[in-house]
Structures are given as C-alpha cells and as structure tokens.
C-alpha cells in the first residue's frame, strides 16, 4: 500500500480538504492508500517515510527525495480532475 503525506500551513485546514479528496478518489479507483497530514514546517523531517508528498500551496521550502505534487486545484475546484489524475498516477 502506497503512503501519501499531505502538507499545508497548519496541518489542519486545507490539508484535510485535500486528504479527503485523495482518499475518495483512491477509493473510487480501487487504489489502496494511507494518507497522513502534517505542517509544511515538518515536511523535511517526515517526507522520507512516504511515497508521495502533496502540498496545498507552492512548496519551495526544502528538498525532499519523494515526488511532490502541488494540489491547489483541489481547493479552487479549477482543473481538479487533472490534479487527481496526476496524484493517482503516482499511486497506482
């Protein structure tokens, strides 16, 4: 099972929205996945334990060894499906 880390400013608000949408999309496509949330400040110390990092804004605050997807579209609702496809692509 692939592991996804969703990071946002406080690890609560926007990351919950994005994490929920990823869980729903994976469920619909039959992709088993675990989704965790954290603060952007913690990303560097945590990201290595995951297969994919999804951030709700622009993340330029450090270097991580896992693929990173910016998911602001899941918040604005514009091009939402394309971003979900991109995320699913990493998890299949």
């Amino acid at each position: 099972m692939k592991r996804v880390l969703v990071a946002c400013g406080n690890g609560i608000a926007t990351s919950t929205v994005v994490a929920t949408k990823i869980r729903e999309a994976c469920e619909n496509h039959g992709v088993p996945v675990t989704v965790s949330q954290c603060k952007l400040l913690e990303v560097e110390s945590k990201a290595d334990d995951f297969d994919l990092l999804v951030t709700t804004g622009k993340f330029t605050g450090g270097s991580v060894s896992v693929p990173v997807v910016g998911a602001i579209n899941l918040l604005t609702g514009i091009n939402e499906d394309a971003t979900l496809e991109e995320i699913l692509g990493y998890l299949k």
Partner: protein
Amino acid sequence: MSIFYAIFNTIMDAGATVMLPIIITIIGLIFGVKLSKAFRSGLTIGIGFAGINLVINMMKADLGPAAQAMVENFGIQLDVLDVGWGAIAAVTWSSPIIAILIFAILATNIIMLALKATDTMDVDIWNYHHMAIVGIMVYYVTKSIPLGILASVIMAVITFKLSDWTAPLVEDFFGIPGVSLPTVSALSSVLIAVPMNWLLDKIPLFRNSKLTVRNAQKYLGFFGEPAILGLILGCGIGALARYDVSKILSLGVSMAAVMILIPKMTSLFMEGLMPISEAAKNFTQKRFKGRKFLIGLDAAVVVGNPDVITTSLIVIPLTIFMAAVLPGNRMLPFADLAVVTFRVAMVVAITRGNLLKNIVMGLVSTGTILYAGTITAPVLTSLAQSIGLDIATDGTMISSFAATSLQLSFLVYEAFITNPIIFVPLLIVVFAAIWVLVEKRNKKKAAAAAE
C-alpha cells in the same frame, strides 16, 4: 409554545457537544446538504469539540499550576495560557448565534460581489470563525444581537477588501494567481506591515539590508516541529516552576502531547465542515457564473514559502523571550507558536523578503498580539466557560494568537465595546477613507501600467 421553549432549554443545558451537531445539521440543510450527510458533519464536529475540551483540560491542569509557580518563584507573570486558535474556533462554532453570523458573513460577500464592491469570493466557511468570534464577543459583552451581527459584518467587509488589495502580492510574491486570502489570522498583520514598511524604508540600514540566515531550517528547524517545541517549552516552564526532574520531564511530554493533540482534534472540525463548505462553494459559484473573481483560500497555501519559514523560525524563540520581558504582558505563548507562519506571511510578501525588516515587523506583530491577547483574555475566558469549555477556575486565564488577539479583530471589538456610538461610526469612516484612497491609487497604477 412552551414545548419549544422546553426543548430549546434542554438542548442549551446539554451544552456545546449537543448544540453543535444540531446547529451544523441545520446550517447544512439550508445549504442543500442531504440530511444524513449534514447530520454526520454535525456529529463529527461535536466529537471534535469533546476532544478539544479534553486536551484543553489536560493542558490547563498541567500547565496552570506550573505557570503560577513561575509567578511565585521569579515574578514572571505569564498566567494567560495560549490554548491555540483551534480551541477558540471550537468556542466560536459552539456559540448560540453562530448560524446567524455565518449567513450574515456569506450574505455580505454575495452582496458585495453583486455590487462589484469586491472580487473575492469567500466560501472558505471554515475561516469565517475569525470574523464570527468578534461578533460573538461583542454580543457576549453588550447582550445585543444586532451589535454582534454588525461587528461581524464590518470584520467581513474589511477582510474582503484587504484580500482584494493583497491579491497582487499573492500572485507576484507567492506565485499563486487568481486567488486571494481572506484569512484574518494572516491579513491582520497587514495593519502593522504597511505603515512599518513605509517607515523602515526611510532608514537606509533597513532599506538596503541584505541580511540572510543560512541553514535556518537546519539549526532552528525544531522550533517548527510542534512536538519538540512543546517538549522544550514544557521542560523549561517546569524548571522555572522549580519542579523536581521527574515532574519537569513529565510536564515536557505532556505539553508535547498537547501540541500534537490540539490540531488532531481541530481537524475533526475541518472534516465536519467540509461538505458544508463544498455546498456553499457550489451555491455561490453557480450564482456568479462567468464573472471573473478571486477565489478566497486559506492562507495555508502560502506559508510554505522559504522566506516565511525562515522568518518564523527566528520570530518564534524571540516571541517567547519577548513574552517574558514585555512589561504588562501576561500571555504565555504556547499552542499558537505553531502557526506563527500565518502571522508573518503577509509581512514577508510586503517587504519582498527583506529578512531584517521581516524579523522586526514580525516581532511587532507578535508583540501586539501578546498585548491584545492579555487585554481580552478575561472576556474570552468567561465566554469559553459559558459555552461549555469546562476549564478550571484557578486564576489562570486562556487566550490565543487568534480571535481578538489579532490586531484587526481587536480594534473592531474595542470600538464596539468601548463606546459604539462614537467609535463604530469613526471606524466605518476611517475604513471608507482608506478604501477610496487605495482604490484611487490602484486605478492610477493600472492606468500607468496600461500606457
């Protein structure tokens, strides 16, 4: 009629954990969410409140006596505990007038959009709590629902306009076009940053500063990790309370637990509100089809910026130091040290990443928050108790870096409770003048850019 009255009283007596599911279900139904989904949302939020109540209790029971021992031992009077914005948001969502305020804020947004008075479409219902709490506190003090609603509406109008005006910064500096950030916890610092930036630019030392801090993340990174920060703070406070070693360590771990558990509980609130937020988004987007607007997002989307992170990592320890030495401050910064990034995000954008200016202005921002938090703590504490946060009455009070600790919210709140007949019209006139001036300047800029 008396049956309704009896039902209403029974619910009120049962407290926030029963009130919340009912209020949220009703709000959900009004937005067209299905009953079963709306009820699950409400129940999730009720569970979140129960969780926050547990954690705040634990925090107050452990940290309260230590804070008081600190007063006795060293005269460091920090007996207003920063329980974090999440706990205050929980209190906000549990107020009996929250439903009215949510619709008043949404209506303000829709009317302003229709009149083309704002470009920001703010359906980030979650962050309405920053605007709502001001109305709730005004209502709590004045016992007047109209005054409470007016206070929240004024907060909303100012918030939407500040979002409009800062949207170019969000696009240019943070690189996110088409959105604005109607999150009061981030916007409020604009009140400090704009005048101070102008002032500091008069001084060459600040204007030309090329200060950079390398490896801030490497050496100060632990200040950004809530668990480590909680552990250090807990142990430090335990030592100042002259506890023995085992008790110091146990306070450290218990405070690390608080730092991690509060956000977990708060995220239940977010989870519960999500279906309602989505429904509100669809509702509003459908009505303004074809109109180009800025989508209002949580400021969480910009705090990942490296300049914001570096500034925060330096401002966090200095804020703790400041809390101890600022005369008159009684707030012990704690849970909200985890969200200092939000308080400095706009500062960083306005200075375009000038680190020296960022640190100075960031500290002025957190310093004013400490004072505003100290001043409004008695009312906030009593409000929280009346709503059902059963915190011990041991002389310590609660506050946060949110609610009326924020500069903007503090000013609006004080205007309403000090002398509403003089200060509320004054507030409106001053803001209207700023509005006219800024829009005039923006028009000129746009015209100049077009040539």
